[in-house]
């Protein structure tokens, strides 16, 4: 089945290779000004662990200079989905649509063997390609990661081991969708929706709770984020520990302004505190393991369901 899989999917392999090469070229070209600015401004001395004076000016300046590019790299979050759309969804759907399953499934290999071999081989290819993309992003983002950490949402899902895990999940999702919907376009749509929904749900509701978040009381004014950490929430509580509503907070600020006092100092004298709930930067790899593990487990479950369903599906 190795030859069969290669012959039927070599276009995908070349496409992925081409895409990676194009991305690598773009990455190298766009990284040059970044690296030069980083070195020129000695931003390596501004890392969160030991910032020197003046960093609070040059760091934001650096970040805003390249904020467009950083935002643009968010598109890499779509990459794992491509495995599901273009490799996974057509796998079975195309055979059913064009009737070639009547040829493929009547040779000397069982449907399950056919499916398992193809999926396993394509999974390996997917993992390799996604891994390469992840490494590329990690290299490109390293200046920003050093300055602002990567456990936060802007970097977490396009770096590290989660990227291959997402891709594997998308692949498995696509294959199952192809079997259930029997038409490539419908399968692709379903894959897109399911992948997006799952990723969003996990990112918003599951990921914050992989490990119990830490809490920090901020006496400093406003909502300054500690660079590198991932802030989950920021709550103002009164002296009794109860949450202060936005309405009451505004009232206090107004009151302070009328009295001519600095609002932040006034809030402090009231005994109010800001409690920040966050995940520290050092937990990055732990979180990566949790999330990657979750998506790999989902992928395996989907593949098992597909294997079970493929034999039972009356065509």
């Amino acid at each position: 089945m190795a030859w069969v899989t290669w012959r039927q999917h070599r276009a995908h392999a070349f496409g992925a290779l081409g895409l990676l090469v194009a991305l690598a070229v773009a990455a190298v070209l766009t990284h040059l000004p970044i690296a030069s600015a980083f070195g020129h401004d000695s931003l390596s001395a501004c890392l969160p662990s030991a910032p020197r004076t003046g960093c609070d000016i040059i760091v934001p300046h650096f970040e805003s200079e390249f904020s467009g590019l950083v935002t643009a790299t968010r598109v890499m979050a779509v990459l794992p989905l491509l495995a599901g759309l273009f490799v996974g969804a057509p796998l079975i759907a195309r055979e059913l649509e064009f009737g070639t399953y009547r040829f493929a499934w009547t040779q000397g290999v069982s449907r399950r063997h056919w499916l398992l071999s193809k999926t396993a081989l394509l999974a390996v290819g997917t993992l390799v390609a996604a891994g390469a993309a992840s490494l590329l992003v990690m290299w490109w983002r390293s200046p920003f990661d050093q300055l602002e950490g990567r456990i936060g949402p802007s970097g977490f899902d396009i770096e590290g081991i989660v990227v291959p895990a997402y891709a594997l999940f998308a692949l498995a999702l696509g294959v199952l969708a192809g079997l259930v919907f029997r038409r490539t376009v419908a399968a692709m749509t379903a894959t897109l929706v399911a992948f997006g929904a799952t990723r969003a749900l996990v990112a918003d509701f599951v990921r914050p709770h992989f490990v119990a978040p830490l809490h920090r009381v901020i006496a400093a004014p406003s909502t300054s984020a500690v660079p590198g950490d991932w802030v989950l929430s920021n709550t103002l509580v009164n002296a009794g520990g109860q949450r202060v509503t936005a309405g009451n907070e505004e009232l206090a600020v107004l009151h302070a302004q009328q009295a001519g006092i600095d609002p932040h100092t006034y809030i402090l004298t009231l005994g109010w505190k800001r409690i920040v709930s966050y995940q520290p930067a050092g937990r990055f790899w732990t979180f990566q393991l949790f999330e990657a593990g979750l998506f790999v487990a989902l992928a395996v479950a989907l593949i098992l369901v597909t294997l079970w369903l493929v034999r039972r599906t009356p065509v």
Partner: protein, 300 residues
């Protein structure tokens, strides 16, 4: 080794929310014959072949190929050569690729047999660029190259011109002679299969209307023509299959069990096509035909 190539018992197949494509089918195909599966469109021929090829699961009853359920024991598919209607193949593959595909997915692949069917076809040609006749030959080559013990062909002659059809039939017969395989050919055109079949199974609306050895069927049926008159029992006639009237004449298609002594009847043999048409007619009883006494079931 001793299990017959195909046994269906109480086999039924229903697709979602539709009528039964096959209902309560009882059939045994003996080893080594060439069986014609005849019947009009939507008779259930394709459904039966798909069930035998392990592409469908029965809704009720069972089907066994060489004693095994093709869905539960997929290794039996290595012994079955199946060509679906329209001979679906990967259009973007070259001929050589398709052969390689078959070689790698079938344990008993024999390139020699396959190549014999592919004379004058360029192995580097894309499957999508082949003519209908060439594609049919390729599909047959892929089926026979597996060295199957059972060959299932679903309307192989549809969309072929007479020359290509004759060529395909020649190649099929040659392949069968070499392999000693059992063949089931489904076709709604009787003339295509009449030439080669020893046995016939007539399906209509999901039921077997007629089955038996072709020679015995033709021997046991006669066309009686005579002046129109009320019918009593006719000596030599076991059963009347169909009656036709026109003007002062009546024609009967009858199962005979002896010579027709009454000289007022002109007795003629009946062609296979005529016989099948008569049994397909809607005024026939819906229950499957199985007349006692006539050896309609053949044995091994």
């Amino acid at each position: 080794m001793s299990a017959p190539p195909l046994v269906a018992q109480g086999l039924g197949k229903r697709f979602r929310r539709r009528d039964w494509a096959l209902r309560d089918l009882m059939l045994t195909i003996p080893k080594g014959g060439i069986v014609g599966l005849a019947g009009p469109n939507a008779a259930g021929k394709s459904t039966l072949l798909s069930l035998a090829a392990g592409l469908l699961a029965p809704s009720e009853g069972s089907i066994e190929v060489f004693g095994r359920n093709p869905l539960q024991a997929p290794e039996v598919l290595a012994e079955v050569g199946y060509v679906a209607q329209g001979a679906p193949l990967y259009r973007s593959f070259r001929v050589a690729d398709t052969l390689e595909y078959a070689r790698r997915t079938n344990p008993r692949w024999d390139t020699e047999i396959a190549i014999e069917l592919l004379t004058h076809i360029d192995s580097r040609a894309k499957v999508g660029a082949l003519s209908a006749g060439e594609r049919a030959r390729l599909a047959l080559a892929l089926a026979l190259g597996k060295r199957p013990r059972l060959v299932l062909l679903d309307e192989p002659f549809a969309s072929l011109d007479p020359l290509a059809g004759r060529e395909l039939l020649q190649l099929l017969m040659d392949g069968v002679a070499e392999l000693g395989a059992t063949v089931i050919v489904a076709s709604h055109v009787v003339a295509d299969i009449q030439r080669v079949c020893d046995h016939i199974v007539l399906l209509s609306s999901g039921c077997v209307r007629l089955e038996g050895d072709v020679e015995e069927l033709l021997d046991s049926h006669r066309l009686l023509t005579g002046p129109r008159r009320p019918l009593g029992s006719i000596r030599g006639v076991r059963e009347i299959v169909r009656e036709r009237y026109s003007g002062r004449q009546q024609t009967l298609l009858a199962i005979t069990d002896g010579p027709i002594a009454d000289p007022s009847w002109t007795v003629d043999p009946v062609s296979l096509e005529e016989l099948l048409l008569a049994y397909m007619a809607p005024e026939r009883l819906p229950t499957p035909r199985r007349a006692e006494g006539i050896p309609l079931r053949w044995h091994g």
